[in-house]
C-alpha cells in the first residue's frame, strides 16, 4: 500500500475555527476531516497514514519555522506522496499549502527548485488563490471553486490524479502522444494540465511530443486553409494593438530628451545583472558630468548581435557625445540625466511593455519631452 500524508489547516483538522488559527504544527494519526472522504475514494491501493496540520495565522507569521517543522512531521511518516488542501479560495490556507508543497517536492521525479524533499506532491485550490500563482509552474494544482461546496468533486478528481502519480507509469519514459519532455517530466503520463481532472495550467508554452512530424502537420494545415474549412493554428496570434504616435516636439531648443536603448548597454560588470537574452528588467544609469561614454566604463551585454563595435565606442549605441554638442549649440534644450537600458533579445512583448510602462512613467515624472530610442 502506498503511503500518503495529508496537510490541512486547523479548521479542516477539526481543531477549531478562526480562534484556533494560531495553532502550531502538529500531526494526527490517519485520515481526518476531508481526508476521510479522500481515503474512501482512494480505495485500498493507497492509505492516508498521517494528517499534518498548522493554524493559518501561525503559518503565515512563522513561515520558515513552520515549514521546517511540518517537513519533519511529513518525513517521519515516510510518505510516497503529499496531498495538501483543498484550500479553495482561502488565501492563508492556500499559501500554507503552496509553501509546504514547494518544500516537499513537485511533479513525480521533478522536485521544485529549492525543494528539501523530493516526493510527489499535489494540492488543490481556486485559480484566484494567491497560493496558486506562486506554485502553478512547479507543482500540480487541482482547480477548485471558491468555497468547500464542491469538496466531493474536487476530492474525486484529486483521487484519480493521486492514483496516476503513484502508479508505475508515472515514472516510465515513453513516446506516446502528448508526452511532455520538459524537466517536469512526470507531467506526462496522464497527469497533465488541461486534462479532465482539471489541473491548473502552468502558464506559458511547453514542449510536447505528438504523433506526426511537423512537415506533415504543416502540409495538412495548408490544405485545410486552402479548402476554407476549419483549421487550427498551433501558434495563436497575440492581439494586435494600434499605437498612436505622440505629437511631435515643435521646439527642440527647449525640449528635454532622454536616451533609452534595447541594445543592452550597462556599466562594465553589469551591476544590475541585465540578462543577455529574454531580459526581464532594465537599468537606469546616471550620465553624471560625462561628455561621452568611455569604453572603459560601459559595455553591451546583448546576446543577439556582434557587440564589438559598441564595446569599442559605446556612443555608437547611446549617442551621448553628439547630444552634448547639440545642447551646447542650443539645438537641443537639455538631456535627461539618466539613460535607460535593457536587452531586446527574445523578450516577449508583454514583458517589454511592462518595462516600457515603468520607464515611461519615470520619464514623465522627470518632465522629459522626448526620447531617442536606440536598438541593436
Amino acid at each position: 500500500m502506498k503511503r500518503i500524508v495529508h496537510y490541512v489547516n486547523q479548521f479542516f483538522a477539526g481543531l477549531g475555527g478562526e480562534e484556533s488559527a494560531g495553532l502550531p504544527p502538529g500531526v494526527l494519526e490517519g485520515a481526518v476531516g476531508p481526508g476521510r472522504l479522500l481515503q474512501t475514494l482512494l480505495g485500498e491501493g493507497a492509505g492516508i497514514v498521517a494528517t499534518v496540520y498548522c493554524g493559518d495565522d501561525h503559518f503565515s507569521e512563522n513561515e520558515e519555522e513552520a515549514t521546517a517543522r511540518l517537513l519533519d512531521l511529513v518525513k517521519e511518516a515516510e510518505p510516497d506522496l503529499l496531498f495538501a488542501g483543498p484550500a479553495f479560495g482561502s488565501g492563508r490556507y492556500g499559501l500554507a499549502c503552496a509553501g509546504l508543497c514547494r518544500a516537499a517536492g513537485g511533479w513525480p521525479g521533478t522536485p521544485a527548485v529549492g525543494a528539501e524533499l523530493s516526493i510527489p506532491v499535489l494540492t488543490a485550490m481556486s485559480p484566484s488563490n494567491p497560493g496558486a500563482d506562486l506554485i502553478r509552474r512547479d507543482i500540480p494544482v487541482v482547480a477548485t471553486g471558491e468555497s468547500s461546496g464542491d469538496m466531493r468533486a474536487v476530492l474525486e478528481r484529486s483521487a484519480v490524479l493521486i492514483a496516476k502519480m503513484l502508479s508505475a507509469e508515472a515514472a516510465a519514459p515513453g513516446n506516446e502522444e502528448g508526452l511532455d519532455i520538459s524537466s517536469t517530466a512526470g507531467i506526462a503520463r496522464g497527469v497533465a494540465p488541461g486534462g479532465e481532472e482539471g489541473l491548473l495550467p502552468r502558464g506559458g508554452r511547453w514542449n510536447t511530443r505528438v504523433s506526426r512530424r511537423a512537415a506533415e502537420r504543416a502540409v495538412d494545415l495548408l490544405l485545410a486553409k486552402l479548402a476554407g474549412g476549419p483549421m487550427e493554428t498551433e501558434i495563436p496570434l497575440p492581439p494586435f494593438q494600434e499605437i498612436d504616435p505622440a505629437p511631435g516636439i515643435r521646439d527642440l531648443g527647449h525640449a528635454k530628451v532622454a536616451l533609452v536603448t534595447t541594445g543592452g548597454l550597462v556599466p562594465r560588470g553589469n551591476p544590475d545583472g541585465i540578462k543577455s537574452y529574454l531580459s526581464t528588467h532594465f537599468g537606469a544609469y546616471h550620465l553624471e558630468s560625462r561628455e561621452q561614454l568611455a569604453a572603459d566604463d560601459f559595455e553591451s551585454v546583448h546576446g543577439g548581435f556582434f557587440t564589438a563595435a559598441v564595446n569599442e565606442d559605446p556612443n555608437r549605441l547611446i549617442p551621448l557625445d553628439v547630444l552634448r554638442d547639440a545642447v551646447r549649440e542650443g539645438s537641443l534644450g537639455g538631456l535627461h540625466e539618466y539613460f535607460y537600458s535593457t536587452t531586446g533579445n527574445g523578450t516577449p512583448v508583454e514583458t517589454a511593455a511592462d518595462m516600457a510602462r515603468d520607464i515611461a512613467a519615470s520619464l514623465e515624472e522627470d518632465s522629459v519631452d522626448g526620447v531617442i530610442l536606440t536598438s541593436a
Binding site: R205, R209, L222, G346, P348, T351
Partner: protein, 418 residues
C-alpha cells in the same frame, strides 16, 4: 532523367583494417580516413571517434552533421561547389549510407553549444542520438584564421562523408528511391499547387548555408529544384548552432520529402524558392516580395509552406514573406520554432496574415539530462551559459540538443499552452 537515391542502410559502424561496406556493416580504417582529412591545409591533425546508440557518450560543440554520400564521377560529385567542382545536383543516381552520421566538432569563435547524447533522455529527443556517428574533431594548424579553419572543418566533414560512402561503389543498394524532375506538369490539374519557400541562414562565415559552395549571404530569392537540396546543393557552414539545420537534415529534407510523397495524391508539388535571411529590414522586405513574385508567377503555386533557419530575426522574414505571399493571393502556412520564456507570446514578430502556423517546439525550455556519461568527446566544458558537468546531470535548453528542434519539420516536437 530523374534523381535516384540508392540506399545503403548501416546497421553497425566499427574500426577495422579495410574501409568497406558489407551487408549493413560499415567498417572504417581509421588511419586511412585520418590521412584523407589532414590533406586540408589548415588541419594539423584530427581525432576520430565512433559513437553508437546506447553508448554512455556525449558529443559536445557539434558543428555539423553529414550523411555519407557518393556519386559516380561521370554524374558529378556529392557536394559540388562546397567540396568538389561545380556539377548539377539532383540528376542521376546518388549513393546514400542511411542511418549513420558524420559529426564534426570544434570550438570556434562565438559558437553556441550543440550536443548529441547517445543514451538517456537526450538521445530520445534527437534522431542523431539514435544512429551511429563517426565524430571528426580536427585541430587547427597554428596561426590559422578561425573563420577559414571553420570552412576547413566543414570540408573535413564532407570529405569524411564521401570517404565512407565510396565503399558502396559497385555494391547493390538495399533499395532505390526515385524523385521526379517533372513537378507539377504530371499531377492531376484538379489538385492544389503547393509551393515551398525555404529560408537559409546566411550571416557569413560560420553562420550560413552554402549554395553550390557560394555563401547565401548575397543571393537573391531563386527558384531551385527541390531535388537539388536532396542531393548536396545546400550545405551547412554553421558553428553558430543549435537551431539551424545540419547538412544531414537538408539531405533528408523532411518538408521536401513530404511534398514529394503527397505529390499527385492530395496536392501537386509545384516547386520551391530558396531565399536568405538578410541583415536589414529593407532587404528582408525586398526578399519577401521577390519570393512571393517567383512563387506566384514562376512556380505558379496556389499555396505555400514557409520555413526559416534561425532565431528572432528570422521571424521577421517569416512574417514579411507571409504577408507578401498572402497579398499575392497565395495561402500560407508558416513553420516556426518558438522562444517563449514565460507567459508571453512565442515569436518576436507577427503579421495578422499569419493565421496558420506549425510549432516545432519551444527553444529555451529546459530538459534534465540525468544519464551519467563515460565518454565526452569534443571538449571538457559546455559553451555559453549552460552550467553543469559535461559527463554528469545537466539541465539544458532543449534547443542545445541538436536535432530536437527541427526548423524544416523533421521532428514530432511541438509546443502547447499548459
Amino acid at each position: 532523367m530523374d534523381f535516384e537515391l540508392a540506399h545503403y542502410p548501416v546497421r553497425s559502424l566499427s574500426w577495422g583494417a579495410h574501409t568497406e561496406y558489407r551487408e549493413g556493416e560499415l567498417v572504417v580504417n581509421r588511419d586511412a580516413l585520418r590521412a584523407e582529412l589532414v590533406t586540408e591545409p589548415l588541419i594539423d591533425d584530427v581525432e576520430l571517434s565512433i559513437v553508437v546508440p546506447g553508448d554512455r557518450a556525449r558529443v559536445l560543440h557539434v558543428v555539423d552533421i553529414v550523411e555519407p554520400r557518393w556519386k559516380a564521377p561521370e554524374n558529378g560529385n556529392p557536394f559540388p561547389g562546397s567540396l568538389g567542382p561545380l556539377a548539377q545536383c539532383g540528376i542521376g543516381r546518388t549513393h546514400a549510407l542511411d542511418g549513420v552520421a558524420v559529426v564534426t566538432s570544434g570550438s570556434l569563435p562565438r559558437s553556441e553549444e550543440a550536443i548529441i547524447d547517445m543514451c538517456g533522455p537526450g538521445s530520445e529527443l534527437s534522431r542523431f542520438g539514435q544512429m551511429p556517428g563517426l565524430v571528426v574533431l580536427p585541430r587547427a594548424r597554428e596561426g590559422a584564421d578561425p573563420g577559414e579553419f571553420g570552412l576547413a572543418l566543414m570540408r573535413a566533414g564532407l570529405r569524411a562523408a564521401v570517404f565512407l560512402a565510396q565503399t558502396t561503389q559497385g555494391v547493390e543498394p538495399a533499395r532505390t528511391e526515385a524523385f521526379s524532375l517533372d513537378l507539377g506538369r504530371n499531377a492531376s490539374p484538379d489538385l492544389p499547387r503547393v509551393g515551398y519557400l525555404s529560408f537559409a541562414y546566411s550571416h557569413g562565415i560560420g553562420r550560413q548555408k552554402l549554395f553550390y559552395g557560394k555563401s547565401t549571404r548575397d543571393i537573391v530569392p531563386s527558384v531551385v529544384h527541390p531535388n537539388e537540396l536532396l542531393d548536396g546543393a545546400l550545405v551547412n557552414d554553421g558553428y553558430t548552432k543549435p537551431t539551424k539545420n545540419a547538412t544531414h537534415d537538408i539531405l533528408n529534407h523532411p518538408m521536401i520529402r513530404e511534398l514529394h510523397r503527397r505529390h499527385d495524391q492530395d496536392l501537386a508539388f509545384a516547386g520551391m524558392v530558396l531565399a536568405n535571411h538578410c541583415a536589414t529590414y529593407d532587404d528582408k522586405a525586398e526578399t519577401a516580395w521577390h519570393a512571393a513574385r517567383l512563387l506566384r508567377h514562376v512556380v505558379e503555386a496556389d499555396a505555400v509552406v514557409i520555413t526559416k533557419d534561425g532565431g528572432g530575426q528570422a521571424d521577421v522574414d517569416l512574417m514579411l514573406a507571409c504577408r507578401a505571399c498572402e497579398e499575392a493571393g497565395l495561402r500560407t502556412v508558416l513553420v516556426a520554432k518558438e522562444e517563449s520564456g514565460g507567459d508571453g507570446p512565442a515569436l518576436v514578430d507577427v503579421a495578422p496574415q499569419a493565421d496558420a502556423m506549425v510549432s516545432v517546439g519551444n527553444c529555451p525550455e529546459k530538459v534534465c539530462l540525468d544519464e551519467s556519461m563515460e565518454v565526452v568527446i569534443g571538449g571538457d566544458a559546455f559553451l555559453g551559459a549552460i552550467q553543469g558537468e559535461p559527463a554528469g546531470t545537466v539541465e539544458i535548453p532543449v534547443q542545445n540538443i541538436i536535432g530536437a528542434i527541427d526548423p524544416i519539420g523533421g521532428s514530432t516536437l511541438t509546443a502547447r499552452p499548459g
